[in-house]
Subunit: 135 residues, 3 copies
Amino acid sequence: MIRQISIPTPGKGLLDVTREIAQAVADSRLTEGLCTILIQHTSASLSIQENADPSARRDLENWLDRHVPENDPNFTHTLEGPDDMPSHIRSALTSTTLSVPIVAGRLALGTWQGIYLWEHRRRGSTRQLVLHLGE
Amino acid sequence: MIRQISIPTPGKGLLDVTREIAQAVADSRLTEGLCTILIQHTSASLSIQENADPSARRDLENWLDRHVPENDPNFTHTLEGPDDMPSHIRSALTSTTLSVPIVAGRLALGTWQGIYLWEHRRRGSTRQLVLHLGE
Amino acid sequence: MIRQISIPTPGKGLLDVTREIAQAVADSRLTEGLCTILIQHTSASLSIQENADPSARRDLENWLDRHVPENDPNFTHTLEGPDDMPSHIRSALTSTTLSVPIVAGRLALGTWQGIYLWEHRRRGSTRQLVLHLGE
């Protein structure tokens, strides 16, 4: 079973999409299986991160901002804006696909885990996720 | 088929869990299929790395120690200890889920590949893996 | 269904293998499903990246060259050459496995996405991919 989900992002940062993915799992009526998520972009990515304290996600964003800064004089791919090349590097360092087992009809995430769409462009946009739900 | 595996970790570093995963694959009696592993934590992660020379794993750990150091003055998420925020960043940079094909009843890893649980906290704990084994 | 693909690499850099993977998907005759790719090496990896402008891939390579340089005096794993230890770190930071949904008989990649084999050794070699294609 395939599901497509569109997620509007407000700009850079980690956006919790666990509820949207969990809804697709519930709709699939699978009790055991595997949910695979692909984000169809190279300037946004996926990560499973702590869903408790928002300060952890701010520090994650800040670490990437400092280690993959805009306006790096070594960048040559600059036509699409100063935040485009950092976005591709952030995407390569994080995840484009994730697979989460389904147990007892639910995503088998740990207690403190959430699934995040990580927007890397300053200006958000509508991001497309493709889900595969299988036994 | 779902399997849950508990792995006690002795502290920071890469711990070879290939044998435990391979045992679950053998128990599944699948000759061809896919084994997906999720680690249910955000301060430990997964990586497929070289299983030959332990010096490679020490250098991996050391590189992360230097690039994601404790006590970074920019961190605000510090209540859970100096090694907690680096753990989340290390987890984001490595993998929370991995999927390995099963061929002829075995994990189709390369000759020098092992599956590692990467503990990022100084003090180890018992880490939970959820495995999905499917055709 | 399992497929093994051998890819000769000319040396360091991102090599587009989308066509080879897409051919395996076509051969599988699956209309909906999941294609999982494992690279059986720890000094080469996988990444889904922009397939439009080659300058983005050069900048990705250059960023890794600067952040995971050869001849780091902290490295102890040096017997296999100066480019070996950086290769393992690059592999840990990028991906060893990827899973892409199949929709309408094709890889459900975004418009600008390609699947890349990322060779991290100076001297290329023949790299082995194992594909699992399932419903």
